[in-house]
Symmetry: C2
Subunit: 236 residues, 2 copies
Amino acid sequence: MKRENPQLACEKCSVKDSTFFGNMELSSLTCMSENKTCTVYKKNQVVFHEGTRPQGVFCINRGRIKIYKTGVEGKDQIIQILKSGDLMGYRAMFSEEQYPVSAETLEETTLCFIPKSDFMEALSSDPKLSKSIIKSLSKDLSTMADSLTTLAQKPVRERLAGALTMLIDTYDLDAIEGDTEGINLTREDLANIVGTATETLIRLLHDFKEEKLIETQGRKIMIKNKEKLQRVANLA
Amino acid sequence: MKRENPQLACEKCSVKDSTFFGNMELSSLTCMSENKTCTVYKKNQVVFHEGTRPQGVFCINRGRIKIYKTGVEGKDQIIQILKSGDLMGYRAMFSEEQYPVSAETLEETTLCFIPKSDFMEALSSDPKLSKSIIKSLSKDLSTMADSLTTLAQKPVRERLAGALTMLIDTYDLDAIEGDTEGINLTREDLANIVGTATETLIRLLHDFKEEKLIETQGRKIMIKNKEKLQRVANLA
DNA sequence: CGCCTATTTGACTCGTCTCAAATAATGTGG
DNA sequence: CCACATTATTTGAGACGAGTCAAATAGGCG
């Protein structure tokens, strides 16, 4: 965990437009940029842990992070995978409670940290920001309702197909023939997204390979047939 | 569905303090009260349906409502049960999308309807309101993450115990010996909360009866031992 | 009061989990 | 940069929770 240098101003950040900051007043953005710190996290580093109290908000400049909840017997349930341009940790800050989830890097990741007071001030002074946050929270809630229904009703095979489809976006894959890019997650993490046992997940990946939906190279999973995968996911 | 008469002003409503309206400016509250309509819904009536567009916000004055998502093969997943004092339908309004879920009354229910424009105006003019909404949405998200983890990891028996525990609050039960009040839900609805088949649910209720955790009177379920039920739920 | 629907019980099947062991991959230190 | 140690992945066998289908019973609502 080392300080990045030089600090990049939020106004000029490459991921600015994909965050809430895109439609903020420029003045509040500059103000928020003032006290932020920018840090590089190594792979598999915990950024914050369930049960601790948020001191501010993180903005992902580069890298990917898993948000998860540790359930009974230490088994994790991954709630979402975040990528560059995503904000994280703001919900617990708003609800003024402990983090309900933990965050851990999946690869080397650069994070900007904005102290609570600065962010809250921006929230008060910029009505646009609060509206876009409300909107985003509402969308997240809708997504969660979807996930809940899927988890309750669909068999593992369909859930896995759905998860892979979702990860195409997370890993910026175009999912065309001959693409060498792929999803780089441990089998255990993938199982914890889908909500199944690692062994079950592996068996299903094997099936998908035989059905020419995916290919694997070591740990990496390449999507070979997105359309068919979506059909298997049985989105209804 | 008939109009209630006379209309009750929001400022004087008995459920005011349990909603967002509790810490709103009185002036915006009066304004919001202006154009609202108050309606009595019969049992098992659909208030809004997944896929339609919200025209405003509902406030539950009396009664209970299930919020659910219809999954594959028409099987419903109940996301939450709302009771008097709860607001509903505001998320889809904020995210400016179609309702991601449906709402149906579980009993005769009185609902106040506040048109979108009035509510949005109140939101703009009252910073306290937007803060309390952000806070509430954040809490909901945390609850949903919990539900997701439970659904993915716990066996049906534990989930049912957890659901019953939660319903104690929804049905305002004190869960003491000799209490004649109970949870009044169809077995199917209860199964759709827990995320299981109706038959499995019934078998488990039978077990719980033998273990003296609950008693039943027809459809009604009385909680006999809340503490033990929580232990069965294995909250960890 | 009686019909219709909800609930209950039984038998059977199947998906998914667990445990155990073999193999492969990853990343680390010399 | 290579070899090794460690961890992750894969495969197999077996068990069990939970779902499905079918039929009987009971309850609630008109």
